[in-house]
């Protein structure tokens, strides 16, 4: 299916951009007239995906993170977060609740939150090449007054 709208932003893996990325996603999603809860779920999931890039994909250096947002006719928002970082050796393990390589500073709940706040989550990773996280969420249609 072809998207009806699309936006793409590429930014440096600086932690100051976490807020920028989730706010940009929320602004793009606004055209679907989402509820506040839906907006919050989207912001939270984007924040988790982008934080993963900043903390794990580029642990020692800065790299580029791409956020691609797409809208489909059936009111589905697709969010893709892509990096060209170190990759994840074992995606299945990384997706498990509480698993983290980030020590005491991290909760290990990032993927669990993306999974439970979105309808679909796909993680593709190649060690040494990078990781692409794709999430989908259908936004409820509200009755017009």
């Amino acid at each position: 299916m072809k998207p009806v709208n699309e936006a793409k932003i590429t930014f440096l893996s600086r932690s100051a951009n976490e807020g920028f990325a989730r706010t940009a996603a929320a602004c793009f999603a606004a055209q679907l007239d989402p509820t506040l809860d839906e907006i919050n779920d989207i912001k939270t999931a984007v924040s988790e995906a982008v934080t993963n890039c900043i903390v794990h994909a580029y642990p020692e250096a800065l790299g580029l993170v791409t956020l691609r947002l797409r809208l489909f006719e059936d009111n589905v928002l697709e969010i893709m977060v892509k990096d060209a970082g170190v990759g994840i050796p074992d995606v299945e393990k990384a997706r498990k609740p509480l698993f983290t390589t980030g020590g005491d500073d991290r909760s290990g709940m990032g993927f669990t939150i993306m999974e439970s706040f979105m309808d679909k989550l796909k993680v593709r990773s190649l060690p040494g090449k990078g990781t692409t996280v794709t999430m989908r969420r259908r936004i409820s249609r509200r009755l017009q007054a």
């Binding site: 932690s15 100051a16 919050n40 934080t51 005491d104 991290r106 909760s107 669990t112 939150i113």
Partner: protein, 102 residues
């Protein structure tokens, strides 16, 4: 990341505000640790009424404070947890671990 603290007897109330993400978490965690270690309270009340956004970075902040309070033989309560932060904390089962009021 502003944290406002108030000591009343052996109770330390720490009010957190703003966006609690990975960008803000480290400074917040350090500040909370510093205030708890200075006050050595019997109970820490973490007031989250001013939190406008929280992701899983906030789970680690809350759990770290809770562990520190346990080491000190004290307790911890979460107060005024906004709905968005509540959903994140509940995803990690924090509500089953730490007493809280929404």
């Amino acid at each position: 990341m502003p944290v406002q603290c108030e000591e009343l007897g052996r109770v330390l109330t720490a009010s957190v505000s703003g966006e609690v993400d990975h960008h803000a978490a480290k400074a917040l965690m350090n500040e909370l640790n510093r205030r708890v270690d200075a006050a050595l309270p019997g109970r820490l009340e973490l007031d989250m009424g001013g939190v406008t956004f929280m992701d899983s970075s906030g789970i680690a902040v809350v759990l770290r404070s809770w562990k520190r309070m346990r080491q000190l033989g004290g307790s911890m309560t979460l107060r005024a947890v906004p709905p968005q932060a509540a959903k994140v904390l509940k995803a990690a089962g924090v509500d089953k671990l730490i007493p809280w009021e929404e």
